[in-house]
Symmetry: C2
Subunit: 333 residues, 2 copies
């Protein structure tokens, strides 16, 4: 590993920006550029875009290939899309330029779940170019999957893994409040679910990642999305919800082995959730229950885990890896 | 990695036996022998000693070197002592026989804390012979150290790490109840502490492991041991404690950076503890609090993590490693 790892940030939405600002504070990282197709961002100095109050002498560009040529990064942080097909072409370009990747793409956390052929193709290309590709984040990437595998390390036997995450969407950004359907009528919620506009991406990937770690082959996976109906009025910065309207969603993903649900992941995200928290339950020997009162902060923590994963990815063997394959991702001061 | 890893168990006390029994259930492990110097155990068939109700055709021997010669294990599970000097010679013998090691030796979890020169010597020897040595367990090895590092992975910054473990010693074996001083008068407790007979081994190692992971150099480490005085009578299978007598201990280890306590580990182990639990608090961005109600079961979980670490150690680069260096140790069915 070189003394300082060169990093380029691709996709400068809120998470990409927060990760870039954090990376600038790390002595072992050298931020070498930023890429975003938004014409409002391309052309700006990265320091201005991040609101640092100082210029970095690095112009954000809309041209990924040019940024890779100019910066020759060791690692690219890719925060452009939630779906694997959205990032596939970008990944190919980055891999062919000889850079490793840490991405917040939800489906990249375990792409074999939904896209086994392209995942294999990516894995082979990464191996050919000697680089490593990782999808990570908080959910998916940590709280419902890696954390379950981490605690399975103290189990002699595991029969079933359950994770339950309750998020108060009122404390989160507008896109999240929209994604969970806050303020819709039950009918419009149903239509939005059917159109794929109301949905959290990544439950399936978490379930398959847990199963893969434990050595389980899932024979089926099923997911349900239901509205959480407000029983009292809730007003946020962005939306007002009346009793009887939708406050948010309750999404449950279940992975089955031979008819038995062995991984059960429940995500409740709604405005006005009274007791946000993360709960992991392992039915095993010994049984394990873990609670994170208040819950893990999605945005702060995602930017952190992305940056903390960079040195691990730089040292890792080449290929398309997952969080279970890496040495413990921890903070390095 | 060969299809099945050959394993020899050295030290067949309760944890060594539980780990061996667990290893026998794993299709990727092949138990090839057991070693114990206890004349009651040496000579027995391992299956009889483990109470399996069947013989394994493996005689327990008191002769470590002979067992290594005969079994040529890939990995040795070493459960013979808590202190690094106790296991140092055994480790040398095993490494020179070409086997990797997973050990429950508390001080081996981070031997650079107390024995930097011998740790370096061991590291070099392991590298020379192409084998890997790991100390692990639940405490130290998981709950106050690896778990803290695991959750630091979602932090942008960490100012201070605190772990607090409360164990009801009444639910544990006699040696643990003795180790915590249950039933002593306050005066005899004090004398036993000064003689080193009442003490949990490994707090220092946990503190230094956390610091090493986070990139902190500790400038000082201090530990206190105080009695927990019973306020009501408690009777266990092994001991009766009257009000005013000692129910157990409260041991606090503090690691300092430039005068500031940055790692604070509190271990309370006493008979009659009402609300056993593990609590991890990270003062950072974002702050993280994690609770394990009931606490992680020390014995079940230690046997589990030892066995679950075997494949990771077999695949790892050679040398004296710690839990922060290994890929996620998780259960493999």
């Amino acid at each position: 590993m070189p003394e300082r790892l060169g990093v380029v940030f691709v996709g400068l939405g809120p998470i990409g920006q927060e990760a870039a600002a954090l990376a600038l504070k790390k002595s072992y990282l050298e931020v070498r550029g930023g890429v975003d197709i938004d014409p409002q961002k391309a052309g700006q100095d990265l320091g201005d875009l991040l609101g640092l109050g100082r210029r970095l002498g690095l112009n954000v560009t809309a041209d990924l290939r040019r940024a890779l040529d100019e910066a020759s990064p060791d690692v690219v942080v890719l925060c452009t899309g939630s779906y694997f097909p959205q990032v596939f072409g970008q990944l190919m370009t980055i891999i062919e330029a000889g850079a490793s990747v840490v991405s917040t793409c939800e489906e990249l956390v375990y792409p074999w779940a939904g896209y086994p052929d392209q995942a294999r193709q990516l894995d082979m290309l990464a191996q050919k170019h000697g680089v490593t590709v990782l999808g990570t984040g908080v959910n998916p990437g940590f709280v419902m999957d890696t954390m379950a595998l981490f605690f399975s390390g103290i189990c002699q036997q595991v029969r079933r893994v359950s994770a339950w995450r309750v998020v108060d969407a009122a404390t989160r950004r507008r896109p999240l409040q929209e994604k969970v359907g806050a303020g819709l009528t039950p009918e419009r919620f149903q239509a939005a679910v059917e159109a794929g506009r109301v949905r959290h991406v990544g439950l399936r990937e978490s379930a398959y990642l847990v199963a893969a770690g434990l050595g389980w082959r899932l024979t089926d996976y099923r997911e349900t999305i239901e509205p959480v109906i407000a029983s009292e009025p809730v007003a946020t910065e962005y939306v007002s919800v009346e009793p009887g309207q939708v406050a948010g969603l309750r999404q449950v993903g279940r992975g089955f082995r031979d008819g038995e649900p062995v991984v059960e992941l429940t995500l409740e995200m709604y405005v006005g959730a009274k007791n946000p928290r993360d709960v992991l339950t392992i039915d095993g020997v010994p049984p394990v229950e873990v609670e994170v009162p208040g819950g893990i902060h999605g945005d702060r923590a995602t930017a952190a885990i992305v940056v903390n994963a960079i040195p691990r990815v730089a040292e890792a063997p080449p290929g398309l890896l997952t969080m279970k394959d890496l040495p413990l991702v921890h903070l390095r001061a």
